[in-house]
Symmetry: C2
Amino acid sequence: MTERTAISPTRQEDFPEWYQQVIAAADLAENSEVRGCMIIKPWGYAIWERMQRELDRRIKAAGHQNAYFPLFIPLSFLEKEAEHVEGFAKECAVVTHHRLEAKEGRLVPGAPLAEPLVVRPTSETIIGAAFARWIQSYRDLPLRINQWANVVRWELRPRLFLRTSEFLWQEGHTAHQSAEEAEAEALRMLRLYEGFLREMLALPAMAGEKTPRERFPGAVRTLTLEVLVQDRKAIQAGTSHFLGQNFARANGITFLSPEGHQEHAWTTSWGVSTRLVGTLIMAHSDDNGLALPPRVAPTQIILLPLIRKEEERAAVEAACGRLLAELSEKSYAGEPLRVEIDARPLAGGAKNWEWVKKGVPLRVEIGPREVAAGTLSVSRRDWSPRERLALSEQQFVANVEQTLAEMQQGFWERALAFQKSHTRRIGSREEFLEFFTPKDSENPEIHGGFAEVPWAGDTALEDKIHEEQKVTIRCIPLEQEPASGTCPFSGRPAKHRVLFGKAY
Amino acid sequence: MTERTAISPTRQEDFPEWYQQVIAAADLAENSEVRGCMIIKPWGYAIWERMQRELDRRIKAAGHQNAYFPLFIPLSFLEKEAEHVEGFAKECAVVTHHRLEAKEGRLVPGAPLAEPLVVRPTSETIIGAAFARWIQSYRDLPLRINQWANVVRWELRPRLFLRTSEFLWQEGHTAHQSAEEAEAEALRMLRLYEGFLREMLALPAMAGEKTPRERFPGAVRTLTLEVLVQDRKAIQAGTSHFLGQNFARANGITFLSPEGHQEHAWTTSWGVSTRLVGTLIMAHSDDNGLALPPRVAPTQIILLPLIRKEEERAAVEAACGRLLAELSEKSYAGEPLRVEIDARPLAGGAKNWEWVKKGVPLRVEIGPREVAAGTLSVSRRDWSPRERLALSEQQFVANVEQTLAEMQQGFWERALAFQKSHTRRIGSREEFLEFFTPKDSENPEIHGGFAEVPWAGDTALEDKIHEEQKVTIRCIPLEQEPASGTCPFSGRPAKHRVLFGKAY
């Protein structure tokens, strides 16, 4: 018999709807009245803040400095790089006026701007213009800048966190003396993201290069981290671009070389966004709601006092207070434990389920029974929601760091096993077809994922496969064996192995 | 004989130009190609991040949760509160299209929006709409939300940090059951800002209420912190608004009271912005550039190795490395010391002046002479730039926390003495005229500041005084003696004392 789950439908029944319901049940975000723009609610924002703080620390440690550039980009700036503007033109929010005026009792746009402004979809062009002023000589290089900002890309089919018209992100921009140095920087930042995903979010990612079809508009090379989530689709969780001299030429970023020549700089850009929150949800959550790896959980331990009668209050509250004080002295992964007491006058069951759905790693119930027995009733988010372990306070406190570390490791191992079990080497078109569009629909859950295929095709062939199968090349993995085998689509000897998958 | 100063002109010679030059010399910010929008450069942004981190900590400790709301506000939302829209209509950036299209070889705004969107000048209306959904019963109250965001108010006369078309800020929004509770919240947050200004930025502020003329559009009461800066003008450094039920009515924020009635909530909003960086500069800097109180300095101590010959390098670098390690163990005001080594191959004098102009509290030079003598050459930003004190490493390290605390206190005392010496009780129109527009221009620096005046006037009288004297009522101070005296402008018995001043 199956247990009743907190989220309905389940992942199996309807994954997209399950995702919406997990977000609603954990109170992470909601749609606003502005089409495609979400409201990130406190619990969702706290998760983003955890990501932000740790990423910011790592980016600074890697030698980058934060700065802030204008929200608005003059239309003429965007036009400077042809591929770039073509890539973003269809998604741009355009500011055309700078005041409102009354007209027939209604407000309408007033003073028109001489030149329309675009709300930044990304900042290569406006930051490039600043770099052109800041960089004079090779002594000014490398220049490494990062920005935390909101960006806007108009979305016709928005989905909370994964695809919203406005989203929050960081975008790094660097300039270098040589192509080699810039390429190394783009790779270094991809690896930084990869380490962050692994250590903080317990997310295994396939690191690879995009084919020309999926490249960032204006880039020479785009590197990507592709995460397989539980419906076996891939999410692009972070990208890092080697921009060659394209934006340097468009913006006039030149420097005097040590040999006395004026040269164009070599630039990179790289970013991750609030999309990471969506990726985290889709990768780790279950049919009882959100599940947070301890390192990214805003609250790691929630203490739930169970008070049915007033005369029980003093003893229970004292026990909770003492436990909170003891836990606050402890740390995990180099930071003080994040512990809260939920003292709201609600029934214990309702409170317990709320924190299950919010994904808090450890729940500790303390009622008169526990006080009398000198124990705690401990539940873990990676156990069944009804499971409880009676532990002495001393046992719990002494082992809490290790427990959280084990849970973090558990999230990683489950996600890695999932990725491995849904990555298949495929050598023929028939296998490929069967993998993504199985005729046998009895076991649909064993189909789909990453198909690793020997490849010698081009963009036209990729377009054709996408049209027929709705799959695309997610990346050309960086970790490659020497090329071997035949490309099943072109019949030519493979240049490398690529990963096909369905994409978010 | 006067010393040559690093900044020219001096404060005396041309204060507005001095301000621009301090910003340029410290590399804090610059104008962008988008009119009124600034680029906040790494050193300026690091100061803002210091402010942000500490304010965020205090706001969270006061019980508020961070969230994020859309950048765009539908025009119809803004129209709901009549005073509000009137106050902001002239400053709104308006988005009218959501794509770009090619037309005769040029890009032009493409698909028009059904309803224009305004780039948020402040978020009462869009957050109010969310509050209306989130609040059902008195049990949902108080609701306390804070947002860190960029906002846009189109500026025709922009000035870096103080008045820019786009700026960064936090805006708090709360909803309460009663007028009393909401008023108390508005006051509590003003006091939180006041404590932050005092303890972190060493800025004394006059806390008071705005007259109707200067009130936030849509507010019932606006509380303000007014800081007097070195040209004896006042800067509004933070505001907190009691909004009554105005926005609750406009947005339909209602709740079921404990007695079972549907009632409109009582709301507040409050904010501080990157304007604080400008205030900090104008209050504390001198003719040698920026001067940072230690608590807000991104780097508190800069170590400057002086190496003229290669054979000196090893010993000097070893001494610097050892000092860095020792200082990194120490803390000040509850945080590890922020220490950097400037190892760039520049002349010692140039490096020293650069850090003077950047405002770093302590500079420590270490060259072969210091290594041989076993001393350090220590300079303080609150001493003359050429002054140096030879200290043993041990002496310096043992006293560094106390030194920084003394410096922080010194910034506060100087600023407080300045404010006090430029606040004058004034009882007649003649005195008032002489205070703000002295006939004797030989000592202009002793004139102007805050004029504390018994007041019984109204908005029309304020308008008239503003027209004639270019001064306005900055606030009605919260700390008031019982009303006494006669208003020199209306001739009526005073209702209270107000502070007049010239405003930024």
